[in-house]
């Protein structure tokens, strides 16, 4: 009952053999070795496995791998372009938007999906955008700040001067 | 008045404080001495935990006083 499916993950094509009930999360982690996407509950409640599928943030643990056939998937490993980090990644580092780091990949992708839709979100829109992602460490405040600063950088298309001043 | 612990000779200024000391130490010898006085260490400790007031510790304090007087 196993079947071969084609996945496009981070702009790379993969051919994988999957079982019908296998989740996209397990395929990403176990078959493609993309372990950046985390498994926190496997029930769709924590958001640690958030990836972007066809432009929308989804919990990879709730998506069957077979449903992802032919879709464009982005995981945390696809955020940076070679040596250049994504502005969200830069901002999370600079503003302390993580502690243990376990929720971070999912948080980054929820944030990216939000900024792709809305390049200038209000603080409330940011809170709503990451309300499916649990973080036990930070109390969210620095995550919200990081996303806000990343949005600003992306809009201005350059590194905010105030960020430099912080260095 | 100084009161002595009948087990380890620790001195405090009241029998109540020695009773607290005995429960607080709670090792085999202190526990054993309490049980040898015809009461149960655990029962008194639990009385102290569950009842309002100080019955558990007061009971032991009275025993300590009795023992001290007869010594």
């Amino acid at each position: 009952m196993e079947r071969i499916i084609h996945l496009n993950v981070n702009s790379e094509d993969y051919e994988v053999i999957v079982r019908p009930r296998e989740s996209l999360l397990d395929v990403l982690r176990n078959k493609l070795n993309l372990t950046g996407t985390k498994k926190g509950c496997n029930e769709g409640d924590c958001g640690a496995c958030t990836v972007i599928m066809d432009g929308r943030p989804v919990n990879a643990c709730l998506v069957l791998a077979v449903e992802a056939e032919g879709q464009n998937i982005m995981t945390v490993e696809g955020l940076a372009q070679g040596p250049d980090l994504h502005p969200l990644q830069e901002a999370f580092i600079r503003y302390g938007g993580f502690q243990c780091g376990f929720c971070t990949p999912g948080m980054l992708l929820s944030a990216k999906a939000l900024l792709d839709e809305n390049s200038d979100p209000t603080e409330d829109e940011i809170r709503k955008g990451i309300s499916g992602n649990l973080c036990r460490c930070t109390g969210y405040t620095k995550i919200i700040q990081s996303i806000k600063e990343a949005a600003r950088t992306m809009r201005s298309g350059q590194v905010d001067e105030r960020m430099r001043a912080n260095e | 008045m100084e009161v002595k612990c009948p087990v380890c000779n620790k001195q405090r200024n009241s029998s109540m404080k020695i009773a607290r000391h005995i429960f607080g130490t709670g090792d085999k010898s202190h526990r054993g001495w309490v049980n040898s006085q015809g009461v149960s260490f655990t029962d008194l400790l639990i009385a102290q935990a569950m009842e309002a007031g100080n019955r558990g510790f007061t009971t032991l304090a009275e025993i300590i006083e009795r023992v001290q007087e007869t010594a």
């Binding site: 580092i93 503003y95 302390g96 502690q99 243990c100 809170r127 036990r136 | 607080g24 569950m50």
Partner: protein, 770 residues
């Protein structure tokens, strides 16, 4: 001490693990796979209390892919506990032999080629239980005739602790006003995002390597050595990145133990990852506590005497609950100078999941009840809540008889800062209220439970020929940022850049022993060890530099920015890199090594230093629904010299929200010992949408015992939030909730009761005047 001279300490330094964590390249135990690795699972008891009559593993063993099934009979039968010198407190077999004591106790473990085969095999193990009567409430468990959970432990009394100074009974007679109140503090799941997990690899050389998510690789190594009958040196514990701890990854856990047992039989690597449901049901949790408090004061607000009785629910095993029992008593006296204090704490076994350390270690519970009661006392006496705290609050150089010596203490400045904030906030909208709570916490415990002769913290610094520095420490980063803090301390002391330092952590075979991440100990204790190791290496460089610079004494020299120079005349200098090379030449080619260690002494029984603070929480209460919304959290926290402001802010914000969740929404519900909300849908952590704006008011102090004057900033911040919320609710709508968690139903019920009482008294007044 001129703090401005620091080049690294005190700066906003991004976390040194940042690049790995934001790119997904940071490896956690859960991400790891070893060649030839098997997957393990654990069968857990569905009963809260039962005798194991028979376990038939044959059907499971016959399932293709299953390699082995083990039960308690396959172990050495030893019992685990962190108080190694108190055998009666080592009470957890982990894999039960004869009896299960809570829903989730492990009865069998197995390994298979694939995870789903392992899962299927669990259902093929037949266990015959003889169900025993169970008891879930500590007050019932102490009653005569209650089921005996541990053989020989009469009436389930696990630990009794007392603290006393002065004479409370005499002092109560001198009081003008006495309050007696009872409270209940509820439990809390640690809810680390990475569940407990381990990979064990034992091979024919009879050596065990364990990769695991742990707060103390050293404790894991020592406890495993006891349980498996291996020498410590034959066990190597590796701790990759760890997805949170919060006190929950300190005891030896079932994943660590069962993978080790399986691997020792199979000579193959075995991995076990607990499911989220297992994480809720079968790890440890915050200690729920029943309190009775008696507080006596003079008319002017002087607090003269306090008597505390606490009954803590132990659950099935001791774990670290004995320390929570002691600390909840000790911190019931904080942060005030009670001349007379008495504490009696009773820890009682029940047939629930064991309770243990959880961020704050008993102090948040103590503070919820104590700071609620101080507000009630202030109201009774007609005194401003900030003023009653100021009048009784601790000050520097305070000594608690037979317990503790407090050196630095900025509580009074914190009270000033909060008072100013409240005044500035001015008139509040209807149904809004601000509540305050004052607190203090330890910078690491002077507790050697594990009974180790090693120093509590140690570090090694190695300087190599290119000037790069290797820093080895057993300190454990579980997200709180100790890797960054310790790298900063090393760079500051050695006068090098952060990029010059390569950190080596999380490997018991290489790193010097450190007790790990608990009790907010690492900034002070591991920080002191790192500072000493760096200073020792630095001294060796300065000795060589003397030949070039010819100072009167070596202490005239310093290192900064890769130059070794005269402190007073920095332009007279020699290159750090040149001196490193010469120093190595002079040491017969050996690298420069510095070793540092720290064990607190002469500082009482509890901790070498204490941080203090005051928090003000503003809430809005919906009187229709009972819903409590957080509006603003303002914290004045003093933790000595701040090593890294980004790290400090992250701790304040994260701890406040974890504590707010405990207070308001995290309601761990059980039925017949089974946790029924064992998932994040029904067990509600606060979400980004629930979190208010937070402000940190800085208060500067300097702690002589800490590195560069630093103290803790980890768990302490979970302490004040519960009471501040309860006090804020009272100030908003006039109802006092003494029973956690403060759910909308409880608020609503209290509002209804208050309305009914007001109506009664109106009728009474009306009738009387008619």
């Amino acid at each position: 001490m001129n703090n401005d001279k620091h080049t690294v300490v005190g700066k906003r330094i991004p976390n040194v693990d940042g690049y790995e964590k934001v790119t997904g390249s940071a490896k956690y135990t859960i991400d790891m796979v070893l060649p030839n690795m098997l997957h393990g699972k654990i069968l857990r008891s569905p009963h809260p209390h039962a005798r194991i009559v028979r376990i038939d593993t044959r059907r499971a063993e016959q399932l293709p892919g299953v390699k082995i099934v083990l039960t308690g009979k396959d172990t050495l039968g030893r019992k685990n506990g962190i108080w190694r010198s108190y055998r009666e407190l080592c009470d957890e077999e982990i894999l039960c032999r004869d009896k299960v004591r809570y829903v989730g106790d492990a009865v069998a473990t197995l390994a298979a080629t694939q995870e789903d085969i392992a899962e299927e095999a669990l259902s093929l193990i037949d266990v015959e239980y003889e169900i025993l009567p169970a008891v879930f409430n500590p007050l019932d468990a102490m009653k005569e005739g209650a089921p005996e959970i541990h053989d020989g432990c009469e009436r389930n009394m696990n630990v009794y602790r007392q603290i006393e100074w002065g004479d409370v009974e005499e002092a109560f007679e001198d009081c003008d006003h006495i309050r007696e109140d009872t409270f209940y503090c509820s439990s809390q799941a640690h809810a680390c995002l990475e569940t407990h997990c381990a990979i064990a690899s034992f091979s024919h050389d009879r050596k065990l390597t364990l990769w695991t998510s742990s707060q103390s690789p050293y404790y894991t190594q020592v406890l495993l050595s006891d349980m498996l009958g291996l020498r410590e040196g034959d066990i190597k514990v590796l701790k990759p990145h760890t997805g949170g701890g919060f006190g929950g990854k300190l005891s030896l856990d079932s994943a660590q133990y069962c993978t080790s047992l399986l691997s020792m039989k199979l000579m193959r690597p075995v991995k076990i990852v607990l499911s989220r449901a297992e994480e809720f049901a079968a790890t440890k949790r915050r200690t729920p506590i029943h309190y009775q408090l008696k507080l006596g004061a003079k008319r002017d607000g002087t607090l003269l005497a306090k008597k505390v009785r606490a009954i803590t629910e132990g659950g099935a095993y001791t774990a670290l609950g004995g320390t929570a029992l002691y600390l909840t008593g000790f911190f019931s006296s904080f942060p005030y100078k009670y001349p007379n204090f008495q504490y009696d704490g009773f820890r009682v076994y029940t047939n629930n999941e064991a309770t243990s350390a959880c961020r704050g270690f008993g102090a948040p519970q103590a503070n919820f009840v104590s700071e609620s009661q101080v507000d009630m006392m202030a109201e009774d006496l007609g005194i401003d809540p900030v003023e009653i705290r100021r009048k009784n609050g601790m000050t520097p150089h305070h000594e608690i008889p037979d317990q503790a010596v407090i050196q630095s203490c900025g509580l009074q400045q914190c009270l000033d800062a909060i008072k100013k904030y409240i005044r500035k906030r001015g008139e509040l909208p209807p149904n809004h209220g601000i509540g305050v709570s004052a607190y203090g916490f330890m910078s690491g415990g002077i507790f050697n439970w594990i009974d180790t002769p090693y120093a509590f913290s140690a570090a090694m610094v190695k300087i190599n020929v290119d000037g790069k520095v290797d820093l080895f420490t057993g300190a454990t980063d579980v997200g709180q940022g100790s890797n960054t803090t310790l790298t900063m301390i090393c760079a500051e002391e050695l006068g090098v850049h952060l990029e010059d330092i390569t950190l080596h952590v999380g490997d018991t075979s290489v790193c010097p022993v450190d007790l790990g991440a608990w009790g907010s100990r690492q900034t002070l204790m591991s920080g002191n060890a790192v500072k000493m190791a760096a200073a020792e290496a630095k001294r060796q460089l300065l000795e060589v530099a003397c030949y070039y610079l010819k100072p009167n004494i070596v202490y005239d020299l310093n290192i900064k920015d890769h130059w070794i120079h005269f402190t007073e005349r920095p332009y007279r200098r020699v290159s750090y890199f040149d001196v490193v090379k010469d120093a190595i030449r002079g040491k017969e080619g050996n690298p420069i090594l510095g070793y540092g260690h720290y064990t607190p002494h002469g500082k009482g029984m509890v901790s070498p230093a204490y941080s203090f603070g005051v928090q003000a929480v503003e809430v809005k209460v919906d009187t229709e629904t009972g819903q409590v919304d957080l509006v603003h959290i303002t914290t004045a926290h003093e933790c000595g010299k701040v090593i890294n402001p980004i790290g400090l802010e992250g701790q304040v914000e994260g701890a406040s929200i974890m504590a707010a969740g405990w207070t308001l929404t995290e309601d761990m519900q059980t039925r017949d010992g089974k946790i029924i909300n064992d998932n994040f849908r029904d067990y509600k952590l606060l979400l980004a949408e629930d979190v208010p704006k937070m402000t940190l008011l800085e208060v500067d102090t300097y702690e002589p015992e800490g590195p560069y004057g630093a103290k803790e900033a980890g768990e302490g911040l979970t302490i004040p939030t519960g009471a501040a919320i309860a006090n804020a609710i009272y100030n908003a709508v006039g109802v006092r909730i003494k029973d956690m968690p403060i759910t909308p139903e409880k608020v609503l019920r209290a509002l209804e009761k208050k309305a009914a009482e007001e109506k009664d008294s109106e009728q009474f007044v009306a009738a009387a005047s008619a």
